[in-house]
């Protein structure tokens, strides 16, 4: 084409510089740090880390508890998704099940740990209801519970989405062919979902393996690799080289998980339209799945109930009378108010600039005639950001920007969040833009539009729903993230999640829960607003409605 693509080339250069500076160089820096000692290149840090008495057990523990949690989370997510798609349960109950399954996404993982302590601890709400402590919360049991709650939303969303597309008529076909119930369940439900179930397992495993929030609160003496990394860096005797080694080792299973995930994608059965189930009435089936799904959801919600209960009583468990004093204390504390504003500003700025970057990147890959190599580079960036755990990125930033003017700044935290969460918003935007009519730019150009005018007048109005989704994704994740920021937030740049980590040290759990509730409500309000806005725009623009 004769068009010079100047604007797109500029966007490409900006994206390239951004990710070179804040992804590639810091990660390479981390790699070098793991091999470079006072006397030059050495493998001694790797040897030392592997020789450490706790390291191997921490690694093994991470694998064991992550795998166990992933299996349980996928099973629970399957039960809830099945109840939503394959039963005649009333609409309100299906809505409840869906909402309950994704609720944990709106809270930081560090809160789950404290919720578990106050639910299943010796003086916990559920322990008191049951009369005895069901399991030891510090260690495997606590981690497992926390991880399961943490990964149910992701597993549910993946399974729920695929289940929507699985052709439900195959159930009828299987039945009329004479299959028994078990065979029908296999051929028409389970088999088409195998790829997704495996994908959900790997995704859940990856999230557990790299999470820091849950082990930070209920890990106890059951060491996992995330805690080992934290202790190497910010523990009593920090050792940056060994920290870099642990981060590199943490990176390996993450890379392997994502590679496996991409490999498994090709085995997914693809359907091109959403299929509604035409099920025969089955009271027993509906009752069984309805009860199972509801029981599992309620169990999960009961753990979160303490977040509401604890800050509303005087002094749990000794003075159980109702009070709003803890809320008043938090809201009258100007420091905590400032921290809340920090979080809110950081999340909004991350969402705004993150959306711009994702949009720009997706415009290049989905709607430009730039060279294939440029598009491959952007896709590779997305793949790399998907494989790098937040803790590893945070540590890489710590190594690369300590001593620079970016140290302890919100700008650095915003950049870290943009890079950390880039993959999903970029893919969302790319998917949306590539579905739009490929002739729009040419048509608008023939009508005298410049590229930028076409983007403003045509592409953006039609992509507004996806832009809002992207904004919402960045916002919510920025509000709840702790793993990367724990290395980057300074005294003047505290945000809610890192403050929660600080409050844990001084046992101020009322404040922890009030701040967690603040995050939850902020996210729910944000989600509500963005959904309404997206709904409004999708009604306005026909294309978007068709797309969804």
């Amino acid at each position: 084409m004769k068009h010079k693509n100047t604007e797109l080339k500029c966007i490409f250069v900006i994206i390239l510089l951004l990710f070179a500076s804040f992804l590639v160089i810091p990660t390479l820096n981390l790699l070098v740090k793991s091999f470079w000692g006072d006397n030059g290149f050495t493998g001694e840090f790797y040897t030392a880390v592997f020789a450490g008495k706790n390291f191997k057990s921490a690694l093994a523990n991470s694998f064991t508890v992550s795998a166990a949690a992933a299996v349980i989370a996928v099973c629970i997510a399957f039960v809830i998704a099945y109840a939503v798609h394959y039963t005649h349960l009333p609409g309100f109950l299906k809505s409840f099940l869906q909402s309950a399954a994704v609720l944990p996404m709106f809270l930081p993982t560090i809160t789950y740990g404290f919720a578990i302590i106050y639910s299943f601890g010796r003086q916990g709400v559920i322990t008191r209801l049951l009369g005895k402590q069901p399991f030891n919360i510090y260690g495997f049991g606590g981690l497992l519970t926390g991880y399961v709650i943490y990964t149910i939303p992701v597993a549910f969303l993946l399974i729920h989405n695929t289940m929507g597309y699985v052709d439900k008529k195959t159930i009828t076909v299987s039945k009329v062919m004479g299959d028994n119930n078990l065979r029908t369940f296999w051929i028409a439900v389970l088999r088409p979902l195998l790829g997704t179930l495996a994908g959900a397992f790997i995704q859940a495993f990856f999230l557990c393996f790299t999470d820091f929030g849950i082990p930070a609160s209920v890990g106890g003496k059951y060491d996992v690799i995330a805690v080992t990394l934290y202790n190497q860096m910010l523990g009593g005797i920090p050792d940056f080289n060994r920290g870099a080694v642990v981060a590199m080792i943490m990176l390996l299973p993450s890379v392997a998980s994502i590679m496996l995930l991409r490999y498994l994608e090709r085995y997914n059965i693809r359907y091109d339209r959403i299929s509604q189930a035409q099920l025969r009435p089955g009271r027993l089936r509906d009752t069984a799945w309805g009860l199972s799904g509801t029981a599992l959801s309620l169990l999960m919600l009961s753990i979160f109930a303490v977040i509401f209960i604890i800050p509303m009583v005087q002094n749990w468990p000794y003075q159980a009378s109702f009070t709003l004093q803890h809320f008043k204390d938090v809201f009258s504390d100007s420091e905590l108010r400032t921290i809340y504003l920090h979080s809110l500003s950081m999340a909004l700025l991350t969402a705004f600039f993150g959306t711009m970057i994702s949009y720009g990147a997706a415009l290049i890959t989905a709607r430009s005639s730039l060279h294939r190599r440029c598009k491959q580079i952007i896709d590779s960036i997305a793949l790399i950001t998907n494989t790098i755990p937040g803790m590893v990125l945070g540590l890489a930033f710590l190594f690369s920007f300590t001593g620079t003017s970016l140290q302890n700044t919100f700008l650095l935290m915003i950049l870290c969040n943009i890079v950390h969460y880039f993959s999903t918003p970029y893919l969302m935007m790319k998917n949306s833009l590539s579905k739009m009519n490929s002739g729009w730019e040419t048509t608008a150009m023939l009508m005298g539009d410049s590229w930028i005018k076409t983007i403003i007048r045509i592409i953006t109005p039609n992509a507004i729903g996806s832009l809002l989704e992207t904004f919402s994704y960045y916002f919510i994740n920025s509000m709840v993230t702790v793993s990367a920021l724990v290395f980057l937030a300074g005294a003047r740049t505290m945000v809610l999640t890192t403050e929660i980590k600080q409050l844990q040290y001084i046992n101020k759990y009322n404040e922890v829960f009030v701040l967690s509730l603040l995050i939850l409500f902020t996210n729910l309000v944000a989600k509500f607003l963005f959904s309404r806005l997206a709904e409004y725009t999708s009604k306005k623009y026909a294309y978007e409605r068709k797309r969804k």
């Binding site: 084409m1 009519n437 150009m445 023939l446 009508m447 294309y543």
Partner: protein, 258 residues
């Protein structure tokens, strides 16, 4: 007059157009006809300016426009899927180009165009509320408002059925004749090409098989490809109709003589 001289185009080492030359006279309706992958859309895109030729020249009214950017050639296209802007209503779509080139068409001309294409009652509708034929007419109106020197139509009838197809075919002819507009149509349907155009360019494997008036193609096909691929398709259609209904005369049904 539009002239293409010795045009060559390859993609990833595969030659799509081979040493192709042709002339299109002013006001002519030309159809580019051929099987899938023969290079007809590539040829259309080269004329429009979306693609650059590897070799050869494109000359319009004596000026070499080979290196002229698409937006400065003064040609316009109606895409197969119309590329209407769904965030704008019918009227806003039709008037879109006037935001950049105010006054290119007068209000009277636009009103006449809208009337000619039968779009008066649809002006305030959203794009999603239109049928396929209505969308096609909106896209045609939007393009015509820009007064293109050459109108390019990429498979304009492929998404339409029966009666609507015939009606759009008539409108395209009317527009082309009324505005004395050079019109180049890409199609894979021999019947469409032969009944709609003054001349038909038949392409096979990137080369011109025949470039002639419809009656010449039917009466004196230049080679086996034209005979087998193009005319056999018409024969099959005709025989199917005879087999189903008998008694109809082929010309009355199909609009051509074999």
């Amino acid at each position: 007059m539009l002239e293409l001289k010795y045009i060559e185009k390859s993609f990833d080492g595969v030659q799509v157009l081979k040493n192709l030359s042709l002339q299109v006279d002013d006001g002519e309706i030309i159809s580019i006809l051929g099987p899938s992958g023969c290079g007809k859309t590539t040829l259309l895109n080269l004329i429009l300016g979306i693609l650059d030729a590897d070799e050869g020249q494109i000359i319009y009214n004596g000026n070499d426009i080979t290196d002229t950017p698409m937006e400065k050639r003064g040609f316009n296209i109606v895409f197969q899927d119309y590329a209407l802007f769904p965030n704008l209503n019918v009227q806003q779509n039709i008037l879109y180009g006037l935001r950049n080139r105010a006054g290119i068409s007068t209000e009277k001309e636009i009103a006449e165009l809208i009337k000619l294409l039968g779009l008066e009652e649809h002006l305030n509708k959203r794009i999603e509320q239109l049928s396929g034929g209505q969308k096609q007419r909106v896209a045609l109106a939007r393009t015509m408002v820009m007064k293109p020197h050459i109108l390019l139509l990429d498979e304009p009838l492929s998404a339409l059925d029966g009666v609507i197809k015939e009606s759009i075919k008539d409108r395209i002819k009317t527009i082309a004749r009324e505005f004395k507009l050079t019109t180049i149509i890409v199609t894979h349907d021999p019947e469409e090409a032969l009944t709609l155009s003054d001349r038909v360019l038949i392409i096979n494997n990137g080369e011109i098989s025949q470039y002639a008036r419809p009656n010449e193609i039917i009466n004196t096909p230049s080679n086996d490809f034209v005979r087998k691929f193009i005319l056999n398709q018409l024969e099959i259609k005709r025989n199917n109709i005879y087999a189903l209904f008998g008694g109809f005369s082929a010309p009355a049904v199909m609009g051509y003589t074999v």
